[in-house]
């Protein structure tokens, strides 16, 4: 059973007179322990697809399943619970909160969960991405690569099944991007994650177990 599954998914944006079919009849799966890379030209629907997998958005057609459960018709609150428990996000421009330290940023997703103390896991994750000596630094005291590593640690704090990354190396230079990808690959194995990552970058493709190519909202394998 695939942990992520899209069946016949379409996404249509209607703005005024214009309608855009950002995705058309997309089938997609991802399994734990594999890294799937989505590539394609700008505007081809990559982010749209990732947002649907990440339950940030709803498809206009087709079904979305997580761990074999159909989550297509989930309401906003149910989707929030799903994101909270099963998904992790990494963004192109890191999106760390500037007033929180590195370790606080990592704890952020579980901050309101007073039932579990994730502090130790947060420290452990930061050590594993090589930031054991930067725990109490704020984002403005970190380099781009360090920020992205904090973001990766944050995405794993809730022990997710799926890690979603939209151009995680897009704002980093070649070498730093490489170390980030090494990091993700290692954590994918350690945490038995399904990783879905978007890239323009041929570099990321080398790390992929599988590559899905999107052109004008249609998948080409």
């Amino acid at each position: 059973m695939s942990v992520v599954e899209l069946r016949g998914v379409g996404k249509r944006y209607e703005s005024g007179a214009e309608t855009i079919d950002a995705l058309k009849d997309v089938d997609f799966t991802a399994d734990r322990g594999e890294m799937v890379t989505i590539t394609g030209p700008s505007g081809s629907g990559k982010s749209t697809m990732l947002n649907l997998i990440g339950l940030l958005d709803e498809p206009t057609e087709g079904t979305v399943s997580l761990q074999g459960r159909n989550v297509t018709d989930f309401g906003e609150d149910e989707r929030t619970e799903e994101r909270r428990s099963a998904l992790g996000f990494v963004f192109q421009d890191f999106h760390l909160l500037p007033m929180l330290t590195a370790v606080e940023n990592v704890e952020l997703p579980s901050m309101w969960d007073t039932s579990v103390d994730r502090h130790d896991r947060a420290v452990d994750l930061l050590r594993r991405v090589g930031l054991g000596d930067r725990l109490t630094h704020t984002p403005d005291e970190l380099s781009g690569g360090q920020k992205q590593r904090v973001a990766i640690a944050r995405s794993l704090i809730n022990e997710p099944e799926v890690l979603l990354a939209d151009e995680p190396t897009g704002n980093l230079d070649q070498d730093t991007g490489g170390t980030i990808l090494d990091e993700i690959t290692r954590l994918k194995a350690e945490e038995d994650l399904a990783v879905v990552a978007i890239t323009h970058d041929e570099q990321l493709v080398e790390y992929a177990d599988r590559v899905v190519r999107l052109v004008d909202g249609v998948t080409r394998t």
Partner: protein, 379 residues
């Protein structure tokens, strides 16, 4: 346990505190608006309390008096001897002091003249305080005269004054009751106005304002009916009037204070809206990583509440200082500001500040919490 680790148990408070710390100037300015509103409410409220206390203290002397004069339906021009006797029978717990009044012109040996009102009264000591020494308990032969007139006519104690052909020796000086120069007062024994048959006024001095009110009611029911007003009985009902005026004043002042707090909460609304719009992407990230809508809502409401509490606290402290200065100036006793009658305005002010801030935070919080995460993340 450190403050930070304690705050971790209250994530909304921690996040709100950190967010407020991000733009200290903006936070300070928003809080300043609240401070001004609270100071306006509190110091205006405390000022009315001070004025009220001062007014009651000053009116205290007069409010325990009942004044009786001839009513419009009376057949006699004045209060009769029999009526006075009846009053004495009814009012056993207070002194009944009948007076006859007239006006005359006094002439001094130096040729100067002065218009005075003449009061014939026996129990002079109940009505007048001498500027030196006690008034004679019973005024039998001498006279009292107001300071100003005595000075004008160059009269010394023991000097004679003439009224209606009789000579009185001056026994003491009194402060003129007519503060605005309506002339002075001459007080002579009631026998000096013997050709006036009836009394012009009867003053009854009760223990306090309430007792005066009860005596007034008793006399009114005894002598008057709905159609027939034999005697005009006036207590210092002005106490109630003064109270009513002060109530209106304090309402008006509280209104002004309230308006400034409304202005302050509009400022908070504006600041909260601005900062949530600015942090749109950030709130999108929170929602994307699984923070619930209610949690975002609480975080932003807590921010507004902290802002209000901060402004309210500083405002209350400033108001306390202002209140003590006001009380010092108005009543001469700064510590009276600490009394509950006035210090409760500090509590009100603080309460209003927090309530107004929570209200102003509600809309921005609701708006931020309900934004779709994709939209917010797109920026």
């Amino acid at each position: 346990m450190s403050v930070a680790s304690l705050l971790w148990r209250f994530p909304s408070v921690l996040m709100a505190w950190r967010n407020l710390g991000r733009n200290r100037l903006r936070t300070a300015l928003a809080a300043l608006g609240i401070v001004i509103g609270v100071v306006a409410i509190c110091s205006l409220g405390m000022a009315t309390v001070a004025i009220e206390q001062q007014a009651t203290a000053q009116l205290g002397d007069l409010t325990n008096e009942v004044t009786v004069s001839s009513g419009p339906d009376s057949e006699t021009e004045g209060v009769t001897e029999e009526q006075v006797a009846e009053m004495r029978a009814i009012v056993t717990d207070a002194r009944v002091i009948p007076q006859k009044t007239n006006r005359t012109t006094l002439e001094a040996r130096n040729g100067r003249e002065a218009r005075v009102s003449v009061t014939g009264v026996t129990d002079a000591n109940a009505l007048y305080d001498l500027t030196t020494g006690p008034a004679p308990e019973r005024l039998q032969s001498g006279a009292l005269i107001s300071n100003g007139t005595a000075e004008r006519l160059a009269l010394e104690p023991g000097d004679p004054v003439e009224y209606e052909g009789r000579i009185y020796r001056i026994r003491g000086f009194i402060e003129s009751e007519h503060a605005f120069g309506f002339g002075g007062d001459l007080v002579v024994p009631v026998s000096g106005l013997a050709d006036q048959r009836h009394y012009d006024t009867v003053t009854i001095i009760a223990a306090d304002g309430d007792a005066a009110g009860r005596i007034g009611d008793r006399l009114d029911t005894r002598f008057n009916t709905e159609e027939d007003e034999e005697l005009r009985v006036s207590t210092f009902g002005n106490r109630a009037q003064v109270g009513g005026f002060l109530d209106t004043l304090s309402l008006a002042l509280l209104g002004i204070g309230g308006i400034s707090l409304v202005v302050a909460s509009v400022a908070i609304l504006n600041v909260m809206l601005m900062s949530t719009v600015e942090r749109r992407g950030e709130i999108g990230v929170l929602r994307a990583v699984g923070i619930r809508r209610g949690e975002v809502l609480r975080m932003i409401l807590t921010e507004a509440t902290l802002l209000g509490a901060l402004g309210g606290l500083v405002g209350a402290l400033v108001s306390l200082a202002t209140g003590m200065v006001l009380f010092h100036v108005i009543t001469g006793d700064a510590t009276a500001a600490l009394g509950w009658a006035s210090s409760r305005y500090l509590v009100y002010g603080f309460g209003f500040a927090v309530a107004a801030s929570v209200l102003s935070g509600a809309y921005p919080a609701w708006k931020a919490a309900n934004e779709s995460p994709v939209e917010a993340l797109r920026g």
